[in-house]
């Protein structure tokens, strides 16, 4: 095939040229839905909070993360309002593991959120971010001696996960001659699948009641609250009503036996975000309940319970995903277009699963930042890693982008900036757009030197 222009045939005149788009041919599958003829528009995202994505990428390169402070604050206020307008005493605790970039945590804290941490590392971050011990909820299966001693001394809320931990904490508190402030993590059947039974103590088989009795009788423990966290991405709001009722009943039983009122009920998190789970028929944006839906179910159950109105416990919520997912974006670029053996298009972008862990369970939107043509093709979107698992989207109707064109992946604020991996590449920088639309670098691009500095080479391998 010859691909040289004939030299004698240069541009004939100065006529205005037509706008170009890539030629494409799509097979019509009889019976199959055919978006092509239907002028379904691919959404374009050219700006984040009024800041042009092009400007951001020109300055900071690609790939990179962007977080919207206005979006975090709006979302938080919606959640707060949904619950506080229905129940008199509500407190959110920011789930650190969802996103523990200090700037992000500080935004939540400035809105009034406490900290919910699940390791000594996260605990230190919370302290660093200005949270006092009595506003730290310490969850999780692993808490070291040093962690627990610090928590006892700070008066943090230690949520017991196992009987071993109960004994261990009791011993430490006795040695320090201080009362540890504790709550019991409880797992229960709220009619959802899967039922998480690996954390805390089971309600239905009596284990939780048994341990509660022991906590009540312990000289060095003060029972502050009851805690449950049923699962993740729970779209059935009815599950929260069931859980709230069961927790309220347990609190009442406790009061009857010990004349002790718990200070709080912690219903955990697990609210869904608007992302679409793989295999779901309808998109998450259609099926995700609103904060009002969750709040209505949960608080109605609490208010309808026998909890005495004058002694209603504080309602604590540990939402993570639902509060921050919408606020995060990844910006990247097209590296290459390819044609797979079966004729499908493949587009390789510089965003891989190492920085977008959630692509393993979500069908993330990948959006162009500008669009010359409405045409799309069935496309597989790959990341840049030399690993077969590096797939961002298996099959998506995707517009005709060229090498170098920018793409945005919205709704990635939860878990990606904590579960990211230094794998093959270094982690990219993170930017924050503040309420005045100013852009701040809140985490620098990692460097080769930093990573190498962690390693030492044994003497015999030197030279």
């Amino acid at each position: 095939m010859s691909f040289f222009l004939k030299e004698n045939n240069s541009i004939p005149n100065q006529m205005e040229k037509l706008e170009y788009e890539r030629p494409i041919i799509n097979k019509v599958n009889a019976g199959m839905p055919d978006k092509f003829g239907m002028s379904t528009r691919v959404p374009v995202m050219s700006h984040i909070e009024e800041v042009a994505i092009k400007d951001i990428m020109d300055q900071y390169g690609s790939p990179l993360y962007v977080i919207s402070e206005p979006c975090i604050r709006n979302t938080y206020r919606q959640a707060q309002k949904a619950f506080a307008s229905r129940y008199p005493r509500v407190q959110f605790a920011w789930s650190y593991k969802t996103n523990y970039l200090n700037a992000v945590c500080k935004i939540f804290h400035s809105e009034g959120a406490w900290a919910e941490v699940v390791s000594g590392f996260e605990y230190s971050k919370a302290v660093e971010n200005g949270i006092s011990g009595d506003q730290i909820i310490f969850n999780g299966p692993e808490k070291s001696k040093a962690d627990l001693e610090r928590a006892i001394n700070d008066g943090a809320m230690v949520h017991l996960d196992s009987l071993d931990e109960f004994y261990f904490l009791g011993e430490l508190a006795q040695n320090l001659n201080k009362k540890a402030k504790v709550a019991l993590r409880i797992n229960l059947d709220a009619g959802i699948y899967p039922q998480w039974d690996r954390f805390g103590f089971n309600l239905e088989n009596g284990e939780a009641w048994h341990v509660l009795t022991r906590v009540m009788l312990h000289d060095y423990m003060e029972l502050l609250g009851l805690h449950t966290h049923m699962g993740t991405y729970i779209t059935a709001v009815s599950a929260y009503a069931i859980a709230a009722k069961k927790m309220a009943d347990l609190a009442i039983r406790l009061f009857r036996k010990f004349n002790h009122s718990v200070k709080y009920l912690d219903l955990g998190g697990g609210f869904a975000s608007k992302n679409t789970l793989k295999g779901a028929y309808l998109p998450g944006s259609d099926t995700c309940p609103s904060f009002d839906d969750y709040a209505e179910a949960l608080t109605s159950a609490l208010l309808a319970s026998e909890l005495p109105p004058e002694r209603l416990p504080l309602l604590i919520l540990e939402c993570g995903r639902a509060l921050v997912d919408d606020a995060g974006f990844i910006l990247g670029r097209v590296l290459a277009n390819k044609r797979l053996v079966d004729g499908r298009r493949a587009t390789v972008i510089d965003v891989g699963v190492n920085m977008l862990f959630t692509s393993f369970w979500y069908e993330h939107d990948v959006l162009p930042t500008r669009l010359k043509s409405e045409q799309t093709e069935n496309t597989t979107i790959y990341g840049p890693l030399c690993m077969n698992i590096d797939v961002i989207r298996e099959a998506v109707q995707f517009p005709l982008l060229q090498r170098g064109d920018a793409v945005v992946i919205p709704r990635i604020g939860a878990y990606n900036m904590t579960q990211w991996m230094q794998f093959i590449k270094l982690r990219p920088p993170v930017l924050l757009i503040d309420e005045d639309r100013k852009v701040h670098l809140i985490r620098k691009q990692e460097t080769y030197e930093q990573f190498n500095a962690m390693e030492t080479i044994p003497e015999h391998l030197k030279t």
Partner: protein
């Protein structure tokens, strides 16, 4: 006096061997004595036979699947509305009901009426909730349990007698005679439809169905009971006959009274030898055999349109017993140019 002409959009034009209700609904509407219609067919797929059948749709438009999101679907409907000035939409696919129920107010705002069950009514009758449903509304339902683990299978013998039914949460049902069979069906169903898997008491008897229309206030506007005479290998009725059965009618009226059901519905019942009726499923829409009801004197699609438009149709008090339907298939002839036009423009 000249009759008013309503512009009515109808989905479910898949008049295949597993037919959607679109075409029978349109036949009912076209036979209305009280109004004229312009029928706008809404098709998901470019080979839905209803698009090509003569004298059924005045115009057909392709619409995107609900899986592409409510906004995408509504944008398309807004476009169609701008061309066609729709008065009512009658959605007929199970998979689209959730989206249309959710979109009710947004459609109403632009002047398009629907007449569908509320989201609560729709959700509460889901298969996995059948036991609670029966208890709440005082209807006999087969005893059922949801299981999520293979280890639960051994204990089934404590609460069930074999054979029993193993069902997926959306589709599929198998009759199992032993724990080993339950095990293999459990694997098959959970792989295809996910968790939970429903275990249901097997009720021996005859399957009978009722088509009904509730006005949303507790009144039954119409109801016709039918017995399937022949069932295809896909489990669909190929022939059916209207029957006279006060028990079924009373059960239907009672359920609609208690649930305040809004819209069309189909009750699937099993009649046992002891003359007891068990509810096995509620389809929250008009079933594909609706034209049998029209032919026996209850034009339910027409009544549904009147309800949607707030016209308060009087309830039907009667229907003809012994009316039959026999389905048949028929090869329509089309041309590649029709197919081409539809594929390119999404309209025909």
């Amino acid at each position: 006096m000249k009759k008013t002409k309503y512009h009515i959009a109808v989905t479910g034009l898949n008049n295949t061997d597993n037919p959607g209700p679109g075409i029978p609904v349109i036949r009912g509407l076209r036979e209305s004595k009280d109004f004229d219609v312009r029928i706008i067919g809404l098709a998901y797929e470019n080979l839905e036979p209803g698009i090509y059948m003569p004298d059924m749709v005045d115009k057909a438009y392709q619409i995107p699947y609900p899986s592409s999101g409510m906004n995408t679907l509504l944008k398309r409907i807004e476009y169609i509305h701008s061309k066609e000035r729709l008065d009512v939409i009658i959605p007929n696919f199970d998979a689209e009901l959730y989206t249309f129920i959710q979109a009710r107010e947004r459609l109403q705002k632009i002047g398009i009426q629907t007449f569908l069950p509320t989201m609560d009514q729709f959700e509460e009758r889901q298969k996995a909730n059948l036991s609670q449903y029966g208890e709440k509304y005082g209807v006999k339902v087969p005893f059922s349990k949801t299981i999520t683990h293979r280890r639960d299978i051994e204990q089934l013998k404590d609460s069930f007698e074999y054979p029993l039914l193993v069902k997926g949460k959306f589709y599929d049902a198998y009759l199992a005679y032993s724990a080993e069979q339950v095990n293999s069906f459990f694997n098959r169903i959970s792989a295809k439809w996910g968790m939970p898997v429903i275990i249901q008491e097997f009720i021996r008897g005859t399957e009978v169905n009722v088509i009904a229309l509730g006005d949303g206030l507790g009144n039954t506007v119409g109801a016709v009971p039918m017995r399937k005479q022949y069932i295809t290998d896909k489990g669909k009725a190929w022939g059916g006959i209207t029957i006279q059965n006060d028990k079924m009618m009373e059960l239907t009226r009672d359920l609609i009274r208690k649930t305040k059901w809004q819209g069309g519905m189909e009750l699937e019942l099993i009649k046992t030898n002891k003359n007891e009726y068990y509810l096995i499923e509620i389809n929250p829409r008009i079933p594909a055999w609706v034209y049998l009801a029209v032919a026996s004197g209850q034009n339910l699609p027409e009544a549904l349109v009147k309800l949607a438009l707030g016209l308060n149709p009087p309830p039907f008090s009667n229907y003809e017993v012994g009316k039959m339907f026999i389905r048949y298939s028929y090869d329509l002839i089309g041309d590649i140019s029709q197919f081409g036009n539809l594929s390119v423009s999404g309209e025909m």
